[in-house]
Structure formats: C-alpha cells, structure tokens
Amino acid sequence: MKHLITIIFLILSAQFSFSQIDTSKVKRTPTDTSKMQLNLDAVYNRPFLQYGKIPVAIGGYAEANTQYAVTDGVTEGFSFQMRRMTLFLSSSIHRKIKFLTEIEFEDGTKEINIEFAALDFQFHHLLNFRGGIIMNPIGAFNQNHDGPRWEFIDRPISATQLLPSTFSNVGFGFYGKIYKPNIVWAYELYLTNGLNDNIIGNAENKTFLPAAKLNPDRFEESFNGEPLTSAKTSFRYRKIGELGLSYMGGVYNKFQEDDLVLDKKRRADVIAIDFNTTIPKINTVITTEFAWTFVDVPDTYTQQFGKKQHGGFIDIVQPIIKKKMFGFEKASFNAAIRAEYVDWNVGTFNETGGNIADEIFAIVPAISFRTSPQTVLRLNYRYEWRKDILGNPASRTGAIQFGVSSYF
C-alpha cells in the first residue's frame, strides 16, 4: 500500500509541477452532455483534469464535515471528520480501450481501497467488455456515489449497509447501451468474486452484506469458488426519468474444502429497484432506491441474523435560488429532504410468533449551497429511530452536520 501511496503522490506532484509551468495546458475534460446519462455512466462522467495531449486524466473529490450528535440525551460532543478523499485516474489506451481507477482514502487513512480499476473494450455500443476491479451494479447509489453529487453528508443506510456500499470485486462482464432520441436503454452483466460467511457472522450482529468486504483476500481469490452474478438493466425516458432494476446473487458460504463437503450451498440474493427524475419547470429532483435481500441462513443458527431484509430511501431536492451568488457564477441554493428505512430482519420469532424488529427509520432535512455543480456546502439535520431486535422502545439520535464536498 505504501508503494501505491507513493505512486499517487508522484502523479499528483507531476500534475502540480506541470501546472506551475503552464496552466493553460491543464484543461478539464468535457463531460458528454450530448446524450442522456444513466447511473451506469457515472464512473466516467466526472470532471477530470488533463495535461496537454497526454492520454491520462486525473481527478477526484474530497469531503469533510463536522457533526454534533446526541443519542437519547447522550453526546460525545463535536467531531470533525474527513470522510473520504478519492482519486480518479483515467487513460485512453486506444480510441476504443479505456482504463479508469478510483482509489479511496476513508476516515483519513483508516481505510484505503481500490474501488474501481477496470479496462473497458468497446466492440460495439451494445457490447463493451469490462475487466478488473469493478463495482457490482446493485442499485444506483453503488454506481453513482460521489459525495459532491449529493445534498446529504451521510450516505443512505439502505445503499451502504443493506446493500454493500461501493462494493467492488474482481471480475469480468459486459455492458451496452442503445440510444434513441428520447430513450436510452442499457444493460450490465458481470461475474465476480463473491460474498463470504462474514455476512452472517459479524460485529453488527445482523445479516450484513457489507461485512463481505472484511475478507482481505477477495481481490485475490474467490472465497468458495462460486462466482457472484451481478446484472442490471436501466431505462431512461427523457420526459419521465431513469428506472433501474438490478440483481446480485451467489453462494456465500464455504460449502467444500479440499473436495470435502462442509455444508450445502447457501445463497444470498439481492434485488433492487431505483428511479430518478427531475420534475420539469420546478426542477425538483427525486431519487429513490429500494432493495430486498434474501439470505439462506441455517435454521439452526440464531434468528439474530435475518433471512430477509428490505429498505430504501427517497431524496427530494428542490433548487430555491439559482444565480450568481457571492461571486460564484453558477451558484445555487437548495432545500432537500431524505427519508430512509431499513428492516434488518423481516420475520417473526420462532418462540413467540411476535414480530422481529431490528429496524431503523431516519428523516434528514437539509439545505445546501452549491458554488457550482461540482462543489457543495451542506447543512443536514438528521433524526433517526432505531429499534432493537425485540422491538423495545426506539433509541433516538439527532445530529447536526455541516460539511463540504467537492471535485478537484
């Protein structure tokens, strides 16, 4: 990892050195606005900086915030958090071959991950081959999660904890798109290394798909030799919006070792539906995503780990003022609200027939000030209710968060 950091540092240093020599040669690569974009396109649809005609572009974003949170009257005071700094590096190897990598530093250097590092070969607009570390296209947020694009400091719980946030794996697959004047349709289909049994044995004390990321060998070998299938189809109609349907599933347990059978194959399957639209005239942006997980947890294990989960979120963002403000040409002031819900354990207790709770509901009003579409200052107020597995009175958390996030 030290070598990786050194390489990144050198690349960045080189960029700054060039800038000092001749800033006119450093230019932003234009994003393609000629066609309707899908969440699938988010990985390349980012502001990159390019030096001269060198076929390498670099970019990234950073986000930091302060937070004052109180849970049932108890607070640990103010915290300042450097949530993440992410670097992108893309390269056009050939007119039809591209490479992009995304490296994320979370909470300082507590977590350093290669979230994406894939080569794309375009054979036809309907047949692109992608190989490397790819982001499993489950839901929309996993594909389109850059901080500056959102009015909320916390990522949605359903998109980050019910579904594994920025879940990436080594694998191969295909994607493609068809464009018509008012319609675009796309598909993605990948096989990657899969989940593992941390999803039903983790410190969260619940079925928790992101715990699969705890396996340090997942970029090296499959946990059980079974690939994880991820597929998504998206459809955007200009006047309505984008609808996505996605699936991810595979065997998560180690069912055999050295040709000896240890257990039956146990599957984890996830389906998600996402939708986003902008209401004409008033420009209200609505983004929503809902997901369902189905995990084959052994009956003789504990019901603490649920066999079914579901949850989702809806974000509504309303631009209030859009004009030059404080010297920023394309500034906007927005009001937003998020509602989110996750039931970690859908079912009833074997012992009593009563409902298994283990659920969370949160509402997050927000205001944001964008100096440009790439940079946002945001103020969030979060109020959440969290019930334990037994359904005891909910623990309540309130949090005031103020943060900044920007592409650079």
Partner: protein
Amino acid sequence: MKKTLFAVVVLLLVVIGCKKIMPPSPKDDELLDGPVEGLTTAETQQFLKGDVAFNDDIFTPQNGLGPIFVANSCGSCHAGDGKGHPFTTLTRFGQVDSTGNQWLSFGAPQLQNRAIPGYTPEALPSGVGFSKILPPANTGLGFLDAVSDADLIAMSDPTDANADGISGVPNWINVPSYCQLRANAISQGGKYIGRFGKKGAAYDLLQQTANAYNQDMGINTSFEPYDTYSKLEVDPEVTNNTVHDVVFYLKTLKVPIQRNQNDGDVQSGKQLFNSIGCNKCHKEELKTTASPIAALSNKIFFPYTDLLLHNMGSGLDDNYTEGSAKTYEWKTPALWGLGLSKNSQGGNYFLMHDGRATSIEQAILLHGGEGQQSNTNYQNLSESDKQKVIKFLESL
C-alpha cells in the same frame, strides 16, 4: 454583505438551537442501566470497560461463538440490562434432586439449542425433566451480592417456626474453586449459600458470568475452560480481565428507581401488597455489608426479595433443579424494575421463571405452594384494590 450576515446568523441560530432539537435523555427512573452513584474515577473506567464487553462484544464463529450456543452476546439476553425475552430463553435439564445432574454426558445442565453453520445443535433427550429459564434483569446485582449470609439465614425459616405458611431456605451449593468466599461466609456441610440464578445456584457474579460465557455463548474462559461441544479443555476465548470487567459492570449497575411513589393508588397498593402477605417473601428492604466497592458498602436498598428458596407448588414444578433446591422450589425474584420489564421484553410482559405469565396479574395467579395464600388473598380483593396492587408493582 447583508446576505453573508444573514447566513452567519442562521448558522449561529442553528448551533444555539442544537440542544433544543436533540432527543432528550429518558428520565433516570425509566432506565435500568447506568452505574451506581459514588464510583471512583478508576471504578467508573472499569464500569465502562465492562459495559462495552457486556453490550458491544458480539461473538461470531470467527471469534469463538459456539460451536453450540444459545445467544451470541450478553446484551442479546439482557437488553438494556432488563429481563430477557423467550427468544433467548435457556433450557436446563437432567437434575431432579440434590445428588447432582445425571445427564451431563447428554449435554446437561444446559441445552445449547443453536449452532454455528456446519454444526448440529443439541436436542433435549426424551423423557428428561427440564426448565425453561428466562434471563433475569441485571440491575442492582452488586447490592444483592453484598448482603451478608447471616442476614439471609436470619430471614430463613426452614421449619416454618412462626407458622405463617412461609418457610424460605437458602440453596446450599458447592462453590467452584475460582470463586472467592465472602467475608464471614457461612458454610453448611462444606456448602455455601448461592444467591444468583432462578434457583439461587450460583455463588457470586463471577460464577454466573463465567457460566453464561460458557453455557450460553460457547465462549471458554480460564474459569470455565471446557468446551460445551467437544467437552475438551480449550484455550480461553476471552481474557480474565474482560471477565472481571463484566463482573464489575454487573456489580455496579444502579438499582431501579421507583416511579410515582407519591401517587395515592401506588401507596395504597403497597399497603395491600403487604396486607395480603406478598412481603413475607418479597422483602422490601435489605442491607449490604462492607464491600471493597465503597458505593455498595453498608447501604439499605429495596429489592423486594429475600433471596431464599420457596415451595411454589406443583404448577411451577418442572421436575428440574439445581444445588440443594427441590424441583418445586424457586428463589424469590427481586421485584424492583418490574414495571420497566416491558421495555426490555419487546413491549410485552414475560414473567415467572420461564416467561409463562404475560401480565403481572397472571404472575400473581400462578403462585402456589407457599405463595398460594397471598394468591388467594389477592383474588379476594375488590377489582379496584387489585388494580392498586398492580399499579404499585408497576411503579417498582
């Protein structure tokens, strides 16, 4: 400039208003958890370490859970340090008298009814007597621990010498070698008084904790090193320090605070509770002796128990016992915190040793044996007086 000023003012108002829009603390008398008042800084730090180990340590197959178990964390059985839920009810079997457990080779005394993937949990052997045991509340355990043996003996009346129909005897048990005897511990035939568990079969909170790690979660300690699955002595899966921190945490949890003490109905209910004889076993007041923890030393407290075994009649005889208790004998449970039980049991009452009573009244009506007279007296009360008794019990 005006806009900037406006933005600054708004931000300042938000910061000032922070506390107004945050969820408030529940009142102290609505919570069962929290430390006893008067701990030193060092004691508070150990309490916090124990709190983390008790409530946050989750055991998984990767860090030692099982392979056979009942629950995967202490907090699973004692949400908010309150009474447990049938979800984590324990099943104990195989002992019918004081000669000991005859079913140890079949997995007794406790059934581990769950297993990590790839393992098979235990099944109850056919025909064996068993009890379902609902996890108790943890509050005020340090106070109960610090009552002197002499006080317990003084409350006992094995031959019912006063002819009030209530006897009350200690559970005389063998104490594991890792337990340290209390100062002035009283012995009978090499056995000592147990005071924790539904039958009073655990001597102290160290034994209770080490057993819970081992029997409930399949976590081995140096105190209880035998794996419940393999029956072999294995390496400890938690450190001695962690166990001691948990024991300290349990010892220093505060006592529940009674609510609505000045309510007329509650006060009348208390008088009725005493007049129908409930207080003969559910003793209102006990006192602690000297304790190394100053906050627990020489205190008077109000648990509504005598920590003694009583004959509860055939209806509560599960044909299973522990220590010197008879199968129909149960230790008087403390009633403090009773009214808050629903907050740890998912909004319902699950009372008596196995949670079979789903209301306080049902629990009263299930009293037999030495409790039968109080049960009858309760039934003879007017509806209004019954409600006052219930209201008093809910205030505890």
